[in-house]
């Protein structure tokens, strides 16, 4: 697509339906991006409420609030919602909003597909949570109770919640693949003249890798859950030894998707985070090329390490060794990224606005997630860590600190650009400190719980685990409640506030900061030229 196609379009600005039809029929990347982000925020709160139910039950030994069956549903749906309906849509929302602005394109390449990609999400979220409501009316026995991993044969045994979750995952998968195709086509075809691949913003690179990972792995997940569906209802025996199948096959298929999925939710953050760091360091990004190559190296390695998620199922020694060493090798490109992030702030002229606070907190906490991941790669020690609270703490350091706190940094970074108003710095900083402190108080005790031998996914626990659980539960409620500050800050920023300048942040670099705040409904109708 060349720039000549975009001439004469200026006067159609803002001719779109109003009210609900605007949102149902929109093909505008900013509208769709906004919908993704709002959807993500709602789902984040919903998933958070679920896990607060879990933490309330775990406040002390004994069963007080929920039955074990319901407990299992809460943990599984919490994870599915947080991963598929909160983290992934947030990343796609940013891609929609910011990729065209960052690469100087008028919109995403495939706008109608973009609309469809979003509107698949709400039905998927309904499918996932509907069984809770149905159970209230005596239909079925509630939502999926297998954890988010669907492990057969437990999932073959499960109730209708599993079927609902399978179809929800199909819809979410289709949505992700459509979004990925759109990102790839947009990045490869619609960059502003002069913007070569190696001049692209890091966010575009990271999303390109993410999109390839999604296209490589989502079909495998879709296949696995479809096999599960036919095992459940149509008499196949893919995962049933009695019919010549193998339950472990499911784990291989699931984690072939599941491990790259970790990077799918993290990579977009690794893309915009260096941009935030460079903005508030007023200094160029360190090691651009090294970062690009590392992103690709991690993307490729992510596809070949899946079995480290189930070392304890029993594997031949060579397989154990291979998956251990390949997993350890991911630490090398990841270390390059960490080096570049820290070198970016080194000798910068630092200021600590809310996005920067989140970015620095993110490096530190995500670092803990990464380092504990390195320890988990060791097969012998993993026998102890596996399926304990140590793992729970580890992946919340990667997915909450590395993922969600990263997304929050992005929200604070771009919110003034999207809304045209500044948010309250005071509330933003309060939100950061409350989140960072209560997050650590929630999850550090869980490391110790895991080491002491508390398995994950249990609704009740032995007395020796009581103290740490109590601390963790209290902190979790503080963590949950502090997110209301975030919501309030966003809403009041949308409603009004100090006018944001075009550049918003003193050190901001990139095409999105050359537009007005908020940018016009149709931006870059004439593509800028990048030198």
């Amino acid at each position: 697509m060349s720039s000549q196609a975009t001439v004469h379009h200026d006067h159609h600005d803002d001719h779109h339906p109003t009210g609900i039809m605007r949102w149902l029929t929109t093909t505008n990347h900013k509208d769709i991006g906004t919908m993704y982000l709002v959807f993500s925020l709602i789902m984040f709160l919903l998933g958070g409420i679920m896990i607060l139910g879990v933490r309330a039950e775990l406040f002390q030994p004994g069963l007080q609030l929920v039955k074990p069956e319901f407990f299992n549903q809460l943990i599984g749906v919490h994870a599915l919602i947080m991963i598929f309906a909160a983290l992934m849509p947030a990343a796609t929302g940013f891609a929609n909003w910011m990729l065209p602005l960052q690469i100087g394109a008028p919109d995403m390449a495939l706008p109608r597909l973009n609309n469809w990609g979003f509107w698949l999400l709400p039905p998927a979220a309904i499918l996932l949570t509907l069984p809770f409501t149905l159970a209230l009316f005596g239909i079925g026995d509630g939502a999926i109770a297998t954890g988010w991993t669907f492990y057969a044969p437990l999932s073959v045994q499960g109730g209708i919640g599993v079927d609902f979750a399978i179809f929800a995952v199909h819809l979410l998968g289709v949505s992700s693949v459509l979004g990925s195709i759109n990102v790839i086509v947009t990045i490869l075809n619609m960059r502003a003249p002069g913007m070569t691949l190696m001049k692209m913003p890091m966010f575009a690179w990271s999303w390109l890798v993410t999109a390839f990972l999604l296209i490589a792995t989502i079909p495998v997940l879709a296949g696995a859950v479809t096999m599960l569906l036919t095992d459940r209802h149509f008499g196949t025996h893919f995962f049933d030894a009695a019919g010549g199948g193998d339950p472990i096959l499911f784990q291989h298929l699931f984690w072939f998707f599941g491990h790259p999925e970790v990077y799918i939710v993290l990579l977009p953050v690794w893309g915009f985070m260096p941009q935030i760091l460079q903005t508030f360091s007023r200094k160029p990004m360190y090691g651009y090329k090294a970062q690009v190559y590392s992103l690709w190296a991690i993307g490729i390695l992510a596809l070949v390490v899946w079995a480290h998620h189930f070392f304890t199922v029993g594997m031949p020694v060579p397989a154990l060794l291979y998956f251990m060493y390949s997993t350890m090798s991911i630490s090398l490109p990841l270390a390059v990224l960490f080096f570049c992030w820290i070198a970016t702030i080194w000798k910068g002229s630092l200021t600590f606005e809310t996005p920067m606070l989140f970015a620095i907190g993110w490096i530190v906490l995500f670092g803990i997630g990464g380092l504990t991941g390195l320890v988990l790669a060791d097969v012998a020690a993993d026998a102890q860590y596996h399926h304990t609270y140590f793992v729970v703490a580890h992946f919340h350091y990667t997915l909450f600190a590395g993922g969600i706190m990263g997304i929050m940094a992005g929200v604070y970074y771009w919110l003034p650009k999207m809304t045209g108003h500044m948010f309250s710095e005071r509330l933003g900083k309060l939100h950061f400190w409350l989140t960072a402190i209560s997050f650590n108080l929630t999850f550090i005790p869980q490391f110790f719980l895991g080491l002491a031998g508390m398995p994950r996914r249990i609704p009740d626990y032995a007395l020796q685990f009581a103290e740490f659980n109590m601390i963790s539960s209290c902190a979790a409620f503080v963590l949950g409640l502090s997110q209301l500050i975030f919501v309030y800050n966003i809403i009041s920023c949308v409603r009004g506030g100090k006018k944001a300048t075009n550049k918003v942040w003193e050190g901001a670099e990139g095409l999105e900061w050359t537009l007005s705040s908020p940018p016009p409904y149709h931006s870059f109708t004439e593509q800028p030229v990048v030198k």
Partner: protein
């Protein structure tokens, strides 16, 4: 009411925090190892933790230095570099990379290799073999060779519902106590074979450093060699349904002489149980025995009142199963009859054939028919024995 609840919890929390140091059982690391494998795991873990903490603190230190000194409010002017600008800088950027390479594949990688090989070597010099079978939600143990060959029993959670639902004080071994311990001799390498009858479980005792999945339809293996006598407790650690938190593993390690005594005692018990199958039992005896068996094995799903938790766990009360005929006119076991379902299972219902003995099966079937079906017939252990 809610505020009262909240206030109570806060008081409780404060008292707990104040008494933190008083609780001897709070642990900050793996439990004291009881096997060579756990010893090795603890070493590996301590070493790795130390390494990653050093890495973390060094990197954090660099960041804090930068955050403190390179700030705009102090008038620090940003440098312009965006990568290594000369050869010596390039080499310096490679140093952390080289250190990590060394840590990954030499410092951590080589000991890890030896640990993995040792962990997977279940057969060399193994003194005995046991089989562990996971079922929802109990463990079954079987001794495969030596004096104890043929011994097998089920190990159920001993914690009462009242404890779980906070109606009575909790035992110190809350959720970690079972009716029948797995008894093993110390200083013997025990090869542990694992399988499951329904979904995937994971047999885990933290002090042993061994955790291995029990997978339906497959055998997996691990090994333990316990170096001091004692009672070791663990739990299932693979989500296996609603009773996942309620299937502990308890292993009692005893000196070899004591172990031999225990084996003989078990054999006598087993013989007595087998003898029971030959005598004629009265209805009352069967119902009384059946009630015990039901409480241990069936109640978790079908509930004490027999009404189950539909739709997952159907009600037995006045159901076609407990009211239906068991044998046809020729005296053959009817398919999908009460006894057939108990012996062979179907779908979520496990097969009890190899878990319960003849007396237990006859008793529980009789109990269910009498109490939940209002029937008056009895099923004799001899009739069950004849079907084996």
């Amino acid at each position: 009411m809610f505020t009262q609840w909240f206030k109570n919890r806060w008081m409780l929390l404060i008292s707990v925090l104040l008494s933190l140091h008083a609780h001897a059982e709070i642990t900050w690391n793996f439990p004291t190892p009881a096997t060579p494998m756990a010893e090795d795991t603890l070493h590996v873990h301590n070493k790795f933790m130390l390494i990653v903490m050093v890495i973390f603190l060094v990197v954090l230190g660099i960041m804090i230095y930068s955050i403190y000194n390179h700030r705009k409010s102090k008038g620090f002017k940003a440098a312009k570099f965006d990568g290594p600008s000369n050869k010596s800088q390039l080499i310096w950027t490679l140093v952390p990379f080289a250190i990590l390479l060394y840590i990954d594949f030499i410092l951590m990688g080589i000991p890890a290799y030896h640990s993995v090989v040792a962990m997977e070597d279940t057969k060399t010099n193994a003194d005995m073999v046991i089989k562990v079978t996971g079922s929802q939600w109990r463990w079954q143990y079987e001794y495969m060779d030596g004096d104890a060959q043929g011994l097998k029993f089920v190990s159920n959670l001993k914690t009462s519902e009242d404890e779980i639902y906070n109606k009575t004080d909790k035992n110190p071994q809350y959720l970690l106590d079972v009716d029948n311990h797995l008894v093993l001799p110390v200083d013997k390498k025990v090869r542990v074979l694992l399988t499951s009858t329904d979904v995937i479980h994971n047999w885990w005792v933290p002090a042993f450093g061994a955790a291995r999945d029990a997978i339906p339809g497959f055998l997996r293996e691990t090994w333990v060699k316990i170096d001091k006598p004692g009672v070791y407790r663990g739990q299932c650690k693979e989500l296996c349904g609603k009773g996942h938190g309620f299937m502990p593993v308890v292993v009692e390690a005893v000196p070899e002489a004591d172990y031999k005594v225990w084996v003989e005692a078990q054999k006598v018990k087993l013989a007595a149980a087998a003898e029971g199958a030959n005598k004629e039992w009265s209805k009352d005896e069967l119902v009384a025995k059946g009630k015990e068996v039901y409480a241990k094995n069936c109640q978790v799903c079908h509930q004490a009142n027999g009404k189950g938790l539909p739709p997952a766990f159907p009600s037995l009360v006045d159901s076609a199963i407990v009211k239906g005929k068991i044998f046809d006119e020729q005296g053959k076991l009817l398919k999908d009859s009460h006894l057939d379902r108990v012996l062979n299972g179907k779908g979520v219902m496990p097969a009890w054939k190899s878990v319960l003995n003849d007396v237990e099966i006859a008793a529980v079937v009789t109990y269910e028919r009498v109490d939940f079906g209002g029937m008056s017939d009895t099923l004799q252990p001899a009739q069950v024995k004849a079907l084996r």
